[in-house]
């Protein structure tokens, strides 16, 4: 366990103050605050949704559901958890809802769509990178109970405490699940890791 230094404490306090201010502005219906929230959270929420849903088109639709839900429900946010925790619980809820609606538990390995809609060549190149494609494929092939903690931890960048609040699971169980998810991912990717992509 890391002992927080005074600098990290100050940074945390500052971030919390900024969150509080942002929430207050959002509750007052401030459109600019909403836009800054979208700017700040859009990339990570999109990456999370993409890895949870496995289809970029669906993720692009789902992200607006998340932001719409944030705008409608911000009045119910009581500040008992971090804003990011609350936002990611909405995100996972939207993803679960979409997957349930779709009726499929996982997309077949070969059907995973690479994200080809990036606006610049550089980003396209990066996204077409073999490793990234393999990771995307592998994550989508994982069962939901392992995929969600792994995505929230390794892609959304949430710490275990936050994921515990989002998924309502104990921290120890989450650590085990993330570890198992990585092990499963390795097994899924094993045949592909030493072969060139088709």
């Amino acid at each position: 366990m890391t002992i927080p230094t005074s600098n990290t404490l100050m940074l945390t306090e500052k971030a919390m103050e900024q969150d509080e201010l942002l929430v207050r502005r959002l509750k007052n219906g401030d459109h600019e605050a909403f836009e800054s929230l979208v700017e700040a959270y859009r990339p990570r929420i999109y990456a999370t949704l993409y890895n949870l849903l496995g289809r970029y088109q669906e993720a692009e639709e789902a992200i607006w559901d998340v932001f719409s839900e944030i705008w409608k429900s911000i009045g119910r946010f009581k500040g008992e958890s971090k804003l990011s925790t609350w936002i990611y619980s909405l995100t996972t809820h939207v993803a679960y809802h979409r997957r349930r609606k779709r009726g499929a538990t996982a997309i077949p390995f070969e059907e995973i769509e690479p994200n080809v809609a990036a606006p610049s060549n550089l980003e396209t190149d990066v996204l077409r990178h073999e490793e990234s494609r393999l990771v995307e494929k592998g994550i989508s092939a994982l069962p939901e109970s392992l995929r969600v903690p792994l995505v929230l931890h390794s892609i959304a960048g949430l710490d275990y405490e936050e994921i515990s609040k989002v998924l309502k699971l104990p921290v120890g169980a989450l650590k085990t699940r993330v570890w198992r998810a990585k092990l499963e991912l390795k097994k899924v990717l094993e045949p592909w890791m030493n072969q060139p992509s088709t």
Partner: protein
């Protein structure tokens, strides 16, 4: 080594590596020999270089769309049927705009109020002002989900929803001088009624009780079941759970039921209690029955003036209330009242003194008579013995 111990050690290794710390000797040896830990390490490296996908771009129009207040979709066929019926019957057609974004109540979207006719006026709703606030009265503006506290001199925008707490009270002033007092536990929305030609100020009473002192411009109080049109009047409307209670203290009020063509004209000192399907039977009420609070009066019975002022003094915030301005004037009378107490005492003492004097006089008189009687008896005795 069993599986659980292996997992625990592997988890410890994973945690150390995640934090970027050097492994202790025991864990380092495990790391050297454990295939699973190596597999996880490889995945960690992959994830480290993994570039999360990016959106193809987002439109600000979509943001505007999300934050825009969403009006409930109008049922065009209901409007068409109502318009056709209005043409056939020959009445005016009133359409009520539903409250934006989060309606406080579901109302029929089409209202036909038949014979209620209102002259054309501009819409003064935007300049309704808060005159007096007591308690933590709050307001919610259209399209917003949060409530804001109300303060004196605040200006209310159309379609603002107002909520008065149990111990609160709010006085609104319209530009034409019309005053509306919202009593405790009341909720309502500032509104307008648009007819085929004009717009009229309206107040949609969801629950609770209001008192209206009306001047000039037309004003309609809407409840779920009725439209109550003020015609230069002073009246109160109490929206109860299943019925509405209207009392008129001055002028005229026309009540029109939404569910039927029934309407009734109410005059001074008349009251009407009705449910959606009931008949409109107007009754007279005695002036004595009027709640003095509805007329901003305090009525006191069988209580000495000085005692009343002493009672009010115990709750000084009441004396600061602008509603009790006349009572503050009463306070100056209280001094006289207290002086009256001493006057009363003096008068009482004087009365006692007089009574005592009278008793003394009576006693002296009685003593004198007794003395005279005794002297006469002594004389009679002397004569009998031949002295």
């Amino acid at each position: 080594m069993d599986e659980s111990t292996l997992n625990l050690t592997c988890l410890q290794v994973a945690e150390y590596r995640e934090l970027g710390k050097a492994l202790p000797e025991a864990l380092a040896s495990h790391w050297e020999s454990c295939a699973d830990c190596h597999a996880v390490g490889e995945i960690d490296n992959l994830l480290e270089h993994y570039a999360p996908p990016k959106m193809s771009g987002y439109s600000r129009e979509r943001l505007v769309e999300i934050t825009k207040p969403k009006l409930p979709q109008a049922n065009w066929w209901r409007y068409a049927v109502a318009a056709a019926l209005a043409c056939l019957i020959g009445g005016n057609l009133y359409l009520r705009r539903p409250p934006a974004f989060s309606p406080v109540a579901i109302l029929p979207q089409v209202r036909s109020h038949g014979s209620i006719s209102v002259p054309a006026v501009s819409l003064p709703v935007s300049s309704v002002m808060v005159a007096v606030v007591e308690g933590s009265c709050v307001m919610r503006q259209p399209g917003q989900s949060s409530w804001k506290p109300l303060h004196p001199q605040d200006r209310l925008t159309p379609e603002s929803t107002i909520t008065i707490p149990a111990k609160g009270r709010l006085r609104l002033t319209y530009p034409d001088g019309t005053e509306m007092v919202l009593l405790g536990n009341t909720q309502g929305t500032l509104d307008t009624i648009t007819s085929s030609a004009d717009g009229v100020d309206a107040f949609f009473l969801v629950r609770g009780k209001i008192f209206v002192h009306h001047h000039g411009n037309p004003l309609v109080i809407l409840t779920a079941d009725s439209a109550i049109e003020a015609i230069g009047t002073e009246f109160s409307v109490h929206q109860e759970k299943s019925s509405t209670h209207v009392r008129v203290f001055r002028g005229l009020v026309r009540v029109k039921l939404v569910s039927s063509e029934n309407s009734a004209m109410m005059r001074e000192n008349e009251e009407l209690r009705f449910a959606p399907q009931s008949k409109l039977a107007v009754k007279r009420f005695g002036v004595q029955q009027v709640d003095p609070w509805e007329k901003n009066e305090i009525k006191v019975s069988y209580l000495k003036e000085g005692r009343m002022v002493e009672t009010l003094r115990r709750v000084p915030k009441h004396l600061n209330s602008p509603h009790l301005a006349p009572v503050q004037r009463l306070e100056s009378k209280s001094v006289q009242s207290l002086e009256n107490h001493s006057q009363n005492y003096n008068r009482h003492a004087n009365r006692l003194e007089t009574k005592l004097e009278d008793q003394m006089k009576n006693f002296e008189e009685h003593a004198r008579k007794q003395q005279e009687k005794l002297l006469e008896e002594m004389k009679d005795y002397d004569q009998s013995v031949g002295r």
